[in-house]
């Protein structure tokens, strides 16, 4: 063991020394956060991606070659994605890069992929800026404005006219979603009665909720991440706020239901994917994911799975793995039947696809409806 470490060290120090292994494999790079603040999302998307690559290889690979996933953890640290993607491109010679969930990490990696003409597919970065970096950067999820509008329409359809908004100011995601929601809601006759803010990592929201309660809203829009949302829900109920909470795909996370429990009953959120979806492709995916990892797949896992699937399909169509041809093939993706819905990429390299609205009853998530753009 120790010897192999020394060997690897020597390998590293000998600059330019490239391991020439498995020339026939098509190398696919992936970066995600397995540790640090956004580890929960990274772990899921990585599992989904790895499952997809295994299945593609099990079915004989693409172009008669196997796919080889080369994975790096960026530890949720800014500064890491740039180094990692340079390593993936120059050291591992990957044909394409998959990642990341967090928009800020994707934004850091995107210019490097663009510069090297290596296509990059982000599974779940919903910030519009990500794909504006250049024509080699794609995403397979919907963007924040769409999700915000969906929830605004949903709230109006429930007959709620007065809504309060509680935004996470440390997350651009949350602010983008809140903006889109407020625009969509007020343009269609709704009224935002109070806006309050919090920061990621806060644990006590009683101050904000007390001030929201005073404005007597009919529902509260909380476009944050699950860790805070669960506590917000509990504290809202303790303070006697009985109205529904609404949110976006950031709600999806392991501990949302464990921590939130009964407090979340009757709340609604939009997301990418529902494990309750009866479509055979989805049920197949859920079964295989459970068999491999022993847990239900969440949105990030499904998006990670689809990102690898779209890439493999594009490689097939391109018939080659060089950057420009692969880029054109990915850009031409139309009507890909993924587990997160039918995905087509538009001229801005964003996915056109449907969103799912789920509700929580008795401590479990349930499918409500699918909303198409």
């Amino acid at each position: 063991m120790f010897n192999s470490h020394i060997f690897r060290l020597a390998l590293f120090l000998a600059a330019g020394c490239c391991a020439a292994l498995g020339e026939e494999d098509i190398r696919v790079g992936e970066f995600a956060s397995l540790t640090g603040g956004s580890a929960s999302f990274g772990q899921s998307s990585h599992k989904g991606t790895a499952l997809a690559i295994d299945e593609i290889n099990g079915a004989g690979g693409v172009l008669g070659r196997k796919l080889k996933l080369i994975f790096e953890d960026d530890q949720s640290l800014p500064g890491q994605p740039a180094t990692i993607v340079r390593k993936l491109i120059s050291q591992d010679k990957v044909a394409a890069v998959l990642g990341e969930v967090a928009s800020s990490k994707s934004l850091e990696a995107a210019p490097i992929c663009q510069e090297n003409h290596i296509p990059m597919i982000s599974p779940a970065s919903t910030n519009p800026k990500v794909t504006e970096v250049g024509d080699y950067v794609f995403r397979i999820c919907f963007i924040d404005p769409f999700q915000g509008t969906v929830m605004a329409k949903f709230a109006l359809s429930k007959g709620w006219k007065k809504i309060a908004v509680l935004t996470d100011v440390k997350q651009d995601y949350s602010m983008g979603l809140a903006d889109a929601f407020v625009k969509g809601f007020t343009a269609n006759g709704g009224q935002v009665v109070k806006e309050q803010k919090y920061s990621t990592g806060d644990k006590d929201f009683k101050a904000q909720l007390t001030s929201l309660k005073a404005s007597k809203p009919e529902a509260i829009f909380v476009p944050g991440y699950y860790a805070e949302v669960a506590l917000i829900a509990r504290q809202a109920r303790q303070l006697g706020i009985k109205v529904a909470l609404l949110g976006g795909d950031g709600w999806v996370g392991d501990s949302l239901l464990e921590v939130g429990g009964k407090a979340l009953d009757g709340c609604f959120y939009s997301c990418h994917f529902s494990a309750e979806d009866k479509a055979p492709a989805v049920q197949n995916f859920v079964a295989r994911y459970k068999a491999k990892y022993g847990s239900e797949p969440d949105d990030m896992a499904a998006l990670g799975y689809d990102s690898a699937g779209i890439l493999a399909e594009a490689i097939k169509r391109a018939g080659a793995t060089d950057g420009p041809k692969l880029r054109d093939a990915i850009a031409a993706t139309k009507g890909y039947a993924g587990v997160t819905g039918t995905i087509s990429l538009d001229a801005h390299r964003n996915a056109e696809k449907s969103a799912v609205i789920e509700t929580i009853t008795n401590g479990a998530m349930h499918f409500v409806e699918t909303v198409t753009p």
Binding site: S40, K197, Y198, K206, A207, Q238
Partner: protein, 310 residues
């Protein structure tokens, strides 16, 4: 007006937690004159000790949450944290006793980072937030409508509990420090450690005891916050620890009632800033308070000024 009163209640219950942690900082500073950077992480370990002990204690009582189960969990977490504190002091700080204070501070930063990152490992606690078991039914207390507008106020059992437990522990602590032999020895070490050892006080023992006592208070704080906010993660102690330190400095470091006053003040200031100004400036304002205090009254609100001897 009702909103203001509600914010005040929220602020005091938050401040009580800060106060418990600040007491630990203040006691350690009293005997060793250095900031135990890892104190916030001991608090985190307290919460995870509760996560481990909670379900077991509940099983003893037929799965029903209750005060006796909660008390057992609290005592367990306090014991674990006391042990952790004593071990940290013994392994990392004791060998540095005669070294410059900065070496100890740097070691403390190292210890803090070590605990946080080891706990983030998926074989230990993992990086994701985890749900803390319900050991007490945390419900809002009904205020009779005869109270008029005050009936709109919401007070939860956990808020009352936090304040009662903090007050109880503070009383106990002052009893120990002011009216026992051990407490007298602690004060002696704090006043002049060389003289105290000449008078037959076992300094090492007293310092270990102080660490244990301070850490057990952090453990109690860990349980009390987790009852209110049942989502715990390995990084929960960083910011809270820093703010509790600010509270200790605000009240006058080394001064027990000062730590409590500082904790309550920081809790209320923070809640008011969030409620009436902007939550984005919450942390900045707490650190701003620290900087102002250190510039204008470095000895804190209740502390006495010390003159440096050459």
């Amino acid at each position: 007006m009702i909103e203001f009163l509600q914010q005040l209640i929220n602020g005091v219950s938050l401040g009580a937690i800060y106060a418990l942690i600040a007491l630990g900082y203040t006691m350690v500073f009293g005997v060793l004159r250095f900031i135990n950077f890892a104190h916030g992480d001991v608090y985190m370990i307290g919460a995870f000790a509760g996560l481990y002990a909670g379900p077991k204690a509940l099983r003893l009582f037929g799965g029903q949450p209750g005060y006796i189960a909660a008390l057992l969990v609290l005592l367990f977490a306090m014991t674990v944290c006391a042990a952790v504190g004593i071990v940290i002091e013994f392994l990392c700080y004791r060998p540095l006793r005669s070294r410059p204070k900065l070496s100890v501070l740097i070691t403390a930063i190292g210890v803090s980072l070590f605990i946080e990152n080891v706990c983030q490992d998926s074989h230990v606690f993992g990086p994701n937030p985890q749900a803390f078991p319900t050991i007490i039914n945390d419900t809002a207390i009904e205020i009779p409508s005869s109270w008029g507008t005050f009936a709109d106020l919401t007070v939860t059992t956990s808020q009352i509990l936090v304040i009662v437990v903090t007050a109880g522990l503070l009383l106990l602590l002052t009893q120990i420090v002011l009216h026992t032999k051990l407490g007298m020895a602690m004060r002696a070490v704090s006043f002049n450690s060389v003289a105290s050892s000449l008078m037959g006080v076992n300094n090492d023992l007293i310092i270990s005891f102080t660490f244990g006592l301070g850490s057990s208070l952090a453990g109690a704080a860990g349980i009390l916050t987790s009852i209110q906010q049942p989502s715990i993660d390995p990084l929960m102690g960083i910011l809270l620890g820093l703010k509790a330190f600010v509270a200790a400095v605000l009240g006058g470091i080394g001064n027990l009632p000062g730590a409590v006053l500082g904790g309550l003040l920081i809790g209320v200031i923070e809640t008011m800033v969030v409620g009436y100004v902007s939550p984005t400036y919450r942390d900045a304002i707490v650190f701003g308070v620290l900087i102002l205090i250190l510039i204008f009254k470095p000895s804190g609100l209740l502390g006495r000024g010390q003159r440096e001897k050459v």
